[in-house]
């Protein structure tokens, strides 16, 4: 017998937790799914009740997780949504086993991932995403004594550097590709969101021993079998830094696989939603980073709006929209401030691997006309990550759009794909 809920929420970061909480508080049956072992998403990854109070955003974590627990909402951890085999049904997988779940309303809160750009040496062990290194450290990796270079783009770089410094790593420098002028303009706009200014200042305080350089970026990483040094540039001169780890990510990009699979309209790189977070597909809402990279505050507001809408409390949801609009503008300003400079397109040499799963080089791709042609002829994007890494890179490098999505959106075992009720059986229920 398939489990079925009034509301199913995919993604247990702030947006998903807020949506599930307010829907469950209204007395509906709600299930909150996440592929991680515990709820929290990226921002609250690894947070525990005993220690969260002193961590950035720990107060919100404590408040929301306590509120969620009081509702009795079902929390399914470790489950990945891979397909929608029939209307109102999601197929899930955990540990190689599949299961179907029915829903009346669906809230997608699948968050964002880092945007990665290829440069020589980016596949060496010890080169990680910036958020990637932070996630691994939250997952128990000890950075004490490690020499870490933080590079790429986005407000995340400062947060990562601060976390590494707090854990006794040696931060060798923080390198932001965006030019100082653009960042200063962005900083001025934050006067309307003083909390963000304070947050940035606190992160910077913890990393004062490390240089924070704008308008500079990584050229290559080198080493015998693992990264040992990185070469940086400001566009005029180059210099080299020794390091144990390079943490490099170029701002964030939304995880649109599930919205695309369900047919949600995408506009300007984000899920297109109405003021109540409803996508173009009836009964399917999108919240948080899916609708614009704006962080925890925006996700919490949008999650509440979607949760209220899912239980018919539209008026209460609408009451939150003016506040949410401020965070929408914040998200747009972030995208503008941390837009990628064209010079980053020239980092990959002909031999540089662009598709890490299949080892497809830049040289093999540059003569192709489209993402589809590249896939068919080179296997770019055909490996287990399904283009999550190289797809964004190819979009930036070659201007290819990757709009189509086919199930399963994550690799799944054959038994999961074949099992579960058949579509006909589901339709007759």
């Amino acid at each position: 017998m398939m489990a079925s809920f009034d509301v199913v929420v995919v993604g247990a970061g702030p947006g998903g937790i807020a949506a599930a909480t307010v829907a469950a508080e209204a007395g509906r049956s709600v299930c909150l799914l996440d592929s991680n072992a515990t709820p929290g998403g990226q921002i609250w990854r690894g947070f525990r009740r005993e220690t969260a109070r002193n961590l950035p955003h720990g107060g919100e974590f404590l408040d929301w997780t306590a509120r969620l627990e009081r509702t009795g909402c079902a929390v399914w951890a470790g489950w990945e949504a891979i397909d929608r085999p029939a209307p109102g049904v999601l197929r899930l997988e955990r540990n190689g086993e599949g299961c179907d779940i029915g829903f009346g309303r669906l809230v997608l809160a699948t968050g964002a991932r880092e945007r990665f750009l290829p440069f020589p040496g980016w596949t060496l062990p010890g080169v990680m995403g910036a958020g990637g290194l932070q996630a691994l450290v939250k997952g128990g990796l000890d950075p004490a004594g490690k020499r870490v270079v933080v590079a790429g783009s986005g407000p995340l770089l400062l947060a990562v550097a601060a976390a590494m410094a707090s854990a006794d790593a040696h931060v060798e420098g923080i390198y932001e590709q965006a030019p100082l002028g653009r960042l200063a303009g962005f900083g001025l706009t934050l006067l309307g969101q003083p909390g963000k200014l304070v947050e940035g200042a606190l992160y910077r305080l913890r990393t004062l021993r490390a240089a924070y350089r704008t308008g500079s970026w990584v050229v290559r990483a080198e080493g015998q079998g693992r990264v040992e040094r990185v070469t940086m540039t400001d566009g005029r001169r180059q210099w080299t830094l020794d390091c144990d780890w390079l943490a490099c990510g170029f701002h964030l990009t939304p995880n649109l696989e599930l919205p695309r699979l369900l047919g949600c309209r995408i506009a300007g790189g984000y899920a297109d939603v109405d003021p109540l977070q409803q996508s173009s597909v009836p009964g399917v809402a999108c919240v948080g980073e899916l609708t614009g990279i704006g962080g925890m505050e925006k996700a919490l507001l949008e999650g509440q709006i979607a949760g209220l809408a899912a239980v018919g409390r539209e008026a209460q949801g609408r009451a939150l929209t003016p506040k949410r609009k401020r965070w929408n503008r914040f998200a747009q300003r972030l995208d503008r401030a941390f837009a990628l400079r064209p010079a980053l397109r020239a980092l990959a040499t002909p031999e540089t691997v662009v598709c890490r799963c299949e080892d497809v080089t830049h040289a093999a791709l540059e003569s192709r006309a489209s993402w589809r042609e590249a896939r068919l002829h080179t296997r770019c994007g055909m490996g287990p990550c399904q283009g999550r890494v190289c797809g964004c890179a190819a979009e930036f490098l070659f201007g290819w759009e990757n709009a189509a999505e086919r199930p399963p959106v994550y690799p799944a075992s054959v038994s999961t794909l074949a099992a579960g009720a058949s579509a006909d059986e589901l339709a007759s229920r």
Partner: protein, 76 residues
């Protein structure tokens, strides 16, 4: 607690992800199509570089998986 990575014992604190344990072990998480050693990269279940066989189940995303006592991890 202790887990085993490619036969090597690795001590980890409770709550450590298998991907973090892989980095501590210095074992590559996989060998790429052209023979390069790879290690965990995105840390959040996206890139699949950290996939390994855990307690006999192949292709586990180790960054999404928390260590359990005597877990057996095989990479490559």
């Amino acid at each position: 607690m202790t887990i085993t990575v490619n036969g090597k014992p690795v001590w980890v604190a409770e709550g450590t992800t298998v991907a973090a344990a892989l980095i501590m072990s210095d074992e590559p998480s996989r060998i790429s199509v052209h023979g390069e050693a790879r290690a965990p990269f995105c840390g959040m279940g996206i890139c699949m570089e950290c996939c390994a066989t855990v307690n006999g189940v192949a292709h586990r995303r180790t960054c999404q998986l928390v260590c359990e006592p005597d877990m057996n991890v095989v990479t490559g």
